[in-house]
């Protein structure tokens, strides 16, 4: 069976499936109950699973993650919603010093199967703190896994796979794509979430991206195609651990790598990808890895966000730059 669902609804369906298949699964966060979350991602879940399994918490992110840790100690599998990217920082200590480290601290005796859902990224015309891309802060933290689905099908399956993972997973949801619909295969055995995927084959250069920028990169590839340039597009899907083998293989073929993300350039994920791709493909690279990213400023007022964020033009410029190197 398959269904055409917007990403938000696909995650909702995935959460529902997770709640159904394991009674230890809980959903908790601000406004996840009767409201169904500000993006309606948890819509209807409290009604169907009750207030004990879908809990509106007090307004305190550290408290939410901290109590989720205690619940995990007790054998639960909490799915925590952080309302917007910029609100995760009050919980940062609990995430990096506790969630990430308890398995290591306990030599494996304690498991933290917690999923931290974060709607992230810009492009929705929002006010400050509502458009950030904090994924690098989690990717750099040993002990966390980080997933970033880009399509409805991945959203549906990866949220379930995240919940089944015995390690903590930061689940980055591409909020500006919440309303974009895609085909969801409700039956088929999903591929592993810990693998990157070539979304478009190409031979002239490799675009490496994830989350909301996958669509943008595919559009860029279409545009390039009209100019006779054939771009490969790789969707990383998992940001931690990174699965770069397909990227290396691709770059060895194309000779050019362009990483694209919304987060600022300095120490964005692109830095790590650039460093590793260069380490692995040194003699194949015909140009240095290009990074097309947000600028190194705080996220600007939304009226100029379209210029701040990588768009098709900037991506194609980088491709040209690389190929002309």
């Amino acid at each position: 069976m398959s269904d055409k669902l917007p990403i938000a609804k696909a995650i909702n369906a995935g959460l529902r499936a997770a709640l159904e298949s394991d009674e230890k699964v809980l959903v908790m966060g601000e406004d996840v109950g009767p409201l169904g979350g500000v993006f309606r991602v948890t819509d209807g879940l409290q009604k169907d699973f009750g207030e004990s399994r879908v809990m509106d918490t007090p307004l305190a992110e550290s408290g939410i993650v901290g109590t989720a840790i205690g619940l995990a100690f007790r054998g639960y599998r909490p799915i925590v919603e952080i309302q917007f990217d910029g609100f995760v920082y009050p919980a940062y200590d609990q995430i990096v010093s506790q969630v990430a480290k308890l398995h290591f601290r306990s030599s494996g005796a304690v498991r933290m199967p917690i999923v931290i859902r974060i709607p992230y990224g810009g492009g929705i015309g929002a006010v400050e703190h509502h458009s950030e891309s904090p994924e690098a802060q989690f990717v750099m933290t040993a002990g966390l896994k980080v997933l970033a689905p880009a399509t409805a099908n991945d959203a549906y399956w990866m949220i379930q796979q995240a919940v089944q993972t015995d390690d903590p997973v930061v689940f980055m949801e591409p909020k500006r794509r919440y309303w974009e619909a895609g085909e969801v295969d409700l039956d088929s055995e999903p591929m592993s979430p810990w693998q990157s995927l070539i979304r478009r084959d190409g031979s002239d250069a490799t675009l490496i991206t994830y989350g909301p920028m996958v669509t943008t990169c595919l559009e860029a590839a279409e545009a390039a195609n009209e100019d006779g340039v054939d771009l490969e597009v790789i969707d990383l899907r998992t940001l931690s651990p990174l699965d770069l083998a397909p990227v290396h293989e691709s770059v060895r073929r194309t000779g050019h790598a362009i990483v694209v993300h919304e987060a600022s350039r300095t120490l964005g994920l692109g830095a790590e990808v650039a460093a590793r791709v260069t380490e692995e493909c040194f003699y194949s690279l015909e140009s240095p890895v290009q990074r097309v990213t947000g600028y190194d400023t705080p996220y600007p007022p939304s009226r100029v966000e379209d210029d701040f964020l990588p768009g098709i033009d900037r991506i194609l410029d980088a491709v040209d730059h690389a190929r002309a190197y």
């Binding site: 207030e51 007090p58 307004l59 009050p90 703190h129 400023t297 701040f308």
Partner: protein, 375 residues
């Protein structure tokens, strides 16, 4: 077993506790053993004017949002008395740290409504030091610590407890019922207490944090929190502008005199949705809203004034003035300049870095390719 949950607003903590009230919903003046409104009817008329203007600003901005001129607007409808009452207790040398909903406070302090921010053309919109009004804090609760630090600075500057009314200063920190759950807010209480800081914590308990009723944030009124940190908390009818003014004035004076912090819980109601993006019908009954309508903060002042000799003309004039204000706001909104991303690179640091200069130049060069090109 399930966890005990009580989500209905009738069971809001302290719903039945007495509040300081100086003007009943019917417009009758009430006496309180401790708190008194000092002004005469002219003063009440002046408060009335600010209430009406505050509401007008709010309504106008709401309309602008509905017309697509603003990306978002958090209505303050119903909270005008809490905002005007508390703001009118401030002196020139005092300082306020607002949330995103303090449109009435902004108005009283001479700050233009936060249209630029909600239009997406600016992250701020005014120079805080010019008005004693900090920029809006969107991260819930964070600014209560800033307020406490600022108050500490007042103590260090020696402008507390000197007895000079033009000099002694205090700070007011606005926050909501939901915010009271944040660690930062409780740390602010603690830092204020141990430093005896001249800060008034003003909580507008409007019964909701987006969809979450106050009963999910606390089990006893937040005013009671203060005693646990060693200072006083007072509950006041947040729809009673006289009571809000009187209690805040007393709290600020205590702070200016060196008497340390105080917490005020203004019990009020968010008549609108959380913001224009919210749909309040998903989590609360129309009945509840109706009930609170009867406690409207403006109607009671009008009732009082009308039954105490204020003539029609006054109300007509205020209405006309509000009409004009509405027009001015629309015009101001349309006149807001668009931001320039190129210029923003200069604002990350006081001194531009080479790195940013390069990125700025790259951006400008890139953009110039498209200049004159229709998108």
């Amino acid at each position: 077993m399930t966890i005990p949950v009580s989500a209905s607003v009738e069971s809001a903590p302290g719903a039945d506790l007495p509040l300081v009230q100086l003007l009943s919903p019917e417009g009758e003046r009430l006496q309180h053993p401790e708190f008194h409104f000092d002004g005469d009817d002219a003063a009440i008329r002046s408060l009335y004017r600010d209430l009406v203007m505050s509401r007008r600003i709010d309504n106008e901005a709401f309309a602008l949002q509905r017309h697509g001129e603003l990306g978002l607007w958090p209505q303050a409808l119903g909270q005008e008395a809490a905002q005007v009452g508390s703001a009118r207790a401030l002196r020139k040398q005092d300082y306020a740290f607002p949330t995103y909903r303090e449109h009435g406070v902004a108005y009283c302090l001479g700050v233009d409504p936060a249209l630029a921010l909600f239009r997406g053309v600016s992250l701020g919109g005014w120079v805080p030091a010019e008005h004693g009004f900090a920029l809006i804090s969107i991260i819930i609760g964070a600014h209560t610590l800033h307020a406490t630090g600022y108050a500490l600075g007042l103590s260090l500057d020696g402008v507390v407890g000197t007895g000079d009314p033009d000099r002694d200063a205090a700070v007011i920190a606005y926050f909501g019922d939901g915010a009271s759950s944040q660690g930062d807010v409780n740390e602010a209480f603690d830092f204020a207490a141990v430093n005896h800081a001249p800060v008034v914590f003003f909580c507008q308990n409007n019964q909701y944090a987006i969809s979450v009723p106050v009963s999910r944030q606390m089990t006893v009124p937040v005013a009671q929190r203060a005693a646990g940190f060693g200072f006083r908390g007072v509950r006041v009818d947040g729809n009673d502008v006289l009571a809000c003014q009187a209690v805040t004035a007393a709290a600020l004076q205590q702070a200016r005199d060196g008497g340390g912090p105080m917490l005020i819980e203004a019990v009020t109601y968010r008549m609108g949705a959380h913001t224009t993006s919210d749909d309040a019908s998903r989590y609360r009954d129309a009945d509840e809203v109706e009930e609170w309508k009867a406690k409207d903060p403006i109607a009671r002042v009008e009732a009082y004034l009308r039954s105490n000799g204020t003539i029609d003309q006054f109300f007509t004039d205020i209405a006309a003035e509000a009409e004009q204000l509405g027009e001015d706001i629309r015009a101001a909104c349309h006149a807001l300049p668009e931001p320039d991303l190129a210029a923003l690179f200069d604002q990350v640091y006081t001194e531009q870095t080479d790195e940013l200069k390069e990125q700025q130049a790259a951006y400008v060069a890139w953009r110039s390719q498209y200049e004159g090109v229709e998108s």
